[in-house]
Every structure is written in C-alpha cells, then in structure tokens.
Amino acid sequence: MITFTEVSALAVAVEIIVTVFKQRAPGMTLDRIPLFVWAMLVMSFLIIFAMPAVMVASTMLILDRLVGTHFFNPAEGGDSLLWQHLFWFFGHPEVYIIFIPATGMVSSIIAAFARRPVFGQLPLILSLIAVGFLSFGLWVHHMFTTGLPQLGASFFTASSMLIAVPNGIQIFCWLATLWDGKPVFKTPLLFVLGFFFIFVIGGLSGVMVASVPIDTQVHDTYFVVAHFHYVLIGGAVFPLIGAIYFWFPKITGRMLSEHLGKWNFWLAFVGFNVAFFPMHILGLQGMPRRVYTYLPEMGWGPLNLLSSAGALILFVSFVLLLLNVVTSLSRGRLAGDNPWDAGTLEWATTSPPAPYNFSRIPFVTHREPLWDNRESLPVVTGLSVDSRELISGTLTEAYPELRESTPEPSIWPLLAAIAVAASFVASIFTPWAIVWGSIPVAIAFTGWFWPKGAPEDEK
C-alpha cells in the first residue's frame, strides 16, 4: 500500500515540477510565481528526495520476509535500527511535505483577505526552501531514545531547533501582511487565524521535545501525541479546510454557506483544543501511547473523558463541513469568476473552469495579475484550436519557446494501474508475482506509448 502511494506521489511531483518550470504563462518570471505554486514546487522536490528512502526500506522488508534476506535481522548480521533510520529519513520530510503546501494555501488566503500582496515575498520563498533543506537534517529526533551517540543527538537537537527560525519568519511575514492590510474576516481567513494559534503552540512543544532530556521523559507518551496533532491538524488541516472554503467556488461554481462555515470553524477550533490540549498533561503524567486502556487508579479518567468529548465536537464540525458541501453543491449562491476579488490567475477564468482552462493564454505583468489589470488581461495568441497545444517556455523568464502538443485522453493509464496493482497484491503471496506480473504491465505500457502518427512525431 505504501509503495502504491509512493509511486503516485513521485509521479505527481514530477508533473508539478515540469509544469512549473516549463509551462508558465509568458511573462511569469520566477519572482511573479504565486507563493502557492512555490510551495507546491518545494513539496515536489521533497517528495522526490524523501520517498525513495521508504520505498527502499519497504522493499528490503518485503525481501526479508519473502525471499529470506536479513537486512533487518540482527541474528544474521542485519540491523533493526536501519529500518528506523530509513523510515524517518523519509518520515520527517513527510511532515514538511504536508506542511509546506499548507503554507502556500495560507499565503493565497491571506493575500486575498488582507487585500494586499503578501509582505516579504522573497523571505517567504527563501524560508520555504530553507525548510525544505533543513527537513532532511532532523530525522534522528524521532530516535533519541534508541541509544545513539551523544554527539549525533546534540546535532539533531540543534537542527530541530533551527528549523523554528524559517518557520518563524513565515509567521511574521503573514502577520505583517494582515497588520498592514484591511482584513476581511470570512471563513477561510478564520481557519488561517486558527492555524496561527494552534500551529504556534505545536511549534513550541516541538522546541521542547527537540531537547534530548525532555524527549527521553515524554517519549511514547501522550505529550508527543498532543504535539504532532497540534502540528499536523493545526499546520495542515486548518489551512486545508480554509482552502476548501476559498477554492470551492472556483471548482464547483457555487459558494459554500458562510453561516455554516462560521459554525464549522468555531466547533473545529474549540473541539480540537479540548480534545488535544489535555493530552499534554496526560503525557506529563505518564500516560503511554498505543495502549488500549488504563487502570482507574492512575487518575487519568477525567482528562481522557474531556479529550473524548472534544474529539466528538471536532467530529461534529467535520459533519457540518460535509453538510455544507453537499447542500451548497446544488443550492449555493452562484460564484462568478472571482468571488473574493483575488489576484492570481486561477480567478481569471470561469468557475468552474472550462476544459481548456483559458480561451487565450494570459500574459503576466505582475505578481497579482488580476489586481494589476483590472479591466482585462493582456493575452498571448497563436496556439492551435483543433489540436491540444500549450506553450512551453524558458525556466527563469518564462519566455515562450515552443508550441508543445499534449496527450489526448487514453484508457491505458487505467489498465496499466490495474496491472501494476494486481502484481503488487499478488506479490504478498509469492515473489514470482513480480516476474509474471511484469508481462501485463509491459503490455499496458506499450499500449500507452504506442505512437499515433501525429504530424509532430513524423518530423
């Protein structure tokens, strides 16, 4: 299963990088790329460097089990710690694979609702990249209790604290944007403010567990559970729900209910904190993770009851979100092209966008093109209308170079996925599945890439 999702993530990462590098609209130089796109670009690079580690590790584990290798078996000279190293070399960047795109969502929402471009575009981009690099130097802080040498542990403590610096820069840039702007407190912005509050608490408990003595105390207790739920739910899920309220009109053409949205936010915010804050205290009292129950005399009952009540409130908030989505799909107010009066290009086309995205490719003159050209965007023309073409440009300046044809629909990707899935699943039962499974996979890929005799291919 993990290998499945890794394959799909790697594929998406490659697509995003090439799209951002080569397919930008003319005039969209590097400094005019929206922060959301920068964030997705950094995420894609993290995926490409991190995911292979876990693919290698899971392959070695399967080999241990199916064909009797001993990578992780100390009795035969293997090393069980190797698994933890490989896993967390992927596992820590994984957290930033989730968090960095969320920062992109935050930047988009803040620019639209503070009514001004985000303050400090350059420091924000640089701190995204810095976080991307630093995230590969942190993995051992998941392993402080495995008896590693002291020097190594100190290094990883320092780098774990260091990563708070670029993250702090981002928070201050966003706060400055809100400070200087005229904030409009619609639901997406509320979720972003909730993100600030919760993520900063999670960041602070993160600095605490970055230190070896504290981590040794609270390792495998509910303190750690509280910490990573503050970071992941605060850092990723809150911006994500905000992003749903923000882009739902673009994707469906209809607005989500603002009234239900406010309820959704406050229930989620209160429910989340009631559910997870007590876990800090439970962890300090020594309650271990991953144990299915506890004795009454430990005195953990009341806080656990409170936490469960909070979890139910959080659950209700998600039911409200679902309700809001379902009712708004048919009865929501019509959105129009640009309901929030935002500045980036996705709001220049219709809602929902036509299959061809833009009838004429826009020419970009500014970071927020729609704020720079209030009347109509300048456009680039010259693409064919009867075959699928797009513009391919230079990496830094997005100077148009080529009219590039792009593939027609095809059933072969589905058939290839079925063939790959079948051979993975069968490989649980016998390693020979990989050998025999490669035949249908090869057939599917051959069909996929069969040349169609397009004019371009013949030249």
């Binding site: 799909s8 969209m28 469960s308």
Partner: protein, 180 residues
Amino acid sequence: MTISDATAHDDVRDTSLSDAELHTRLTRTWRTGSSWIERLSSVDHKVVGRRYIITAFVFLCLGGLSAVAMRLQLARPEAKLLGPDLYNQLFTMHGTTMMFLFAVPVMEAFAVYLVPLMVGTRNIAFPRLNAFSYWVFLFGGVFLWVSFMLKIGPDAGWFAYVPSPARNTRRENASMSGPR
C-alpha cells in the same frame, strides 16, 4: 516550431477567431466525453484533481471514524468497547490512512487542480501519468482498507518498526505491499 513560426500546416490558430467560435472549437478539442469509457480515460487535470480531492476526503472520513472509535474506548478506564488487537489495528490504520491516504494525496490533489490554473497553462505536464497516479493511489487505499475489513489489517503502528512487523506474517505485507 516557434510561436512566431508561420502556419506551416492548415491548422487554425486562436489569433483570428471570435470569442464564441474559439469557445466552441477549444471545447471540442479539450473536453472529456460523457460515456463511461471516456470518463475513465480522462487526462484533464481538473477531472483527475477533483477525483483526487474527493477520494482523499473519503479516506479522511475513514481515518476520522477510527479516531472516534479510539477516543470512545479511552473515554473511561478499563472500557471494553475494543479489544487490544482491534485497538492496535485501529491506531495503525488511523496513522497510515491520515498520512499516506489523506494528508499527502490531498495536498497533491490541490496541486494537480490548481497549479496549471495558477501558472496559466491548459493542462498539467504528463497528463496520462497524472491519471495513472490517481488510479494507483485509489487501488492502494482500497487495498489497505479491504485487508483491514478482512481482519488482516496491519497492527504495528504507522511506522511499522521492525522486528514486530517482521514477526507478523501477512499483516504488514498489506501495509508495505510489493517489492519494487
């Protein structure tokens, strides 16, 4: 061929057409058909992105329900709602689902939908690979949850530290699945 290159073949360019004519012809070129086979063949980043987002949220619901079940079990000391074995499977499924089937895919999903729109292009690069990646993600997620339903779900935590998964026979195979 460069943009400034004169029309070498008899293809029609968007330069000279009226807005309505342009809309008709571009729609004919780019649309995803309405038959089943055409829908399954779609390579439109918006169609694939929408499927990705919806699928990821279905997995969020499954991961969320497993969290609710665990919180109900932990609400009181010595509760008997879930046994230790089911509890182990649930926290493993919760972590695995939230990390691998919800959080990462949903971020990719938003990228797939929005990045081509934000950079002003007509489709994502390698659109067929994009369709392939969605199907592989869907099958992987369904496979994990089917093995949970069959009561052979993984139970060693989302990070599957050795040696415990190495001892269990078939369970972590479902989680790791497949040498590559």
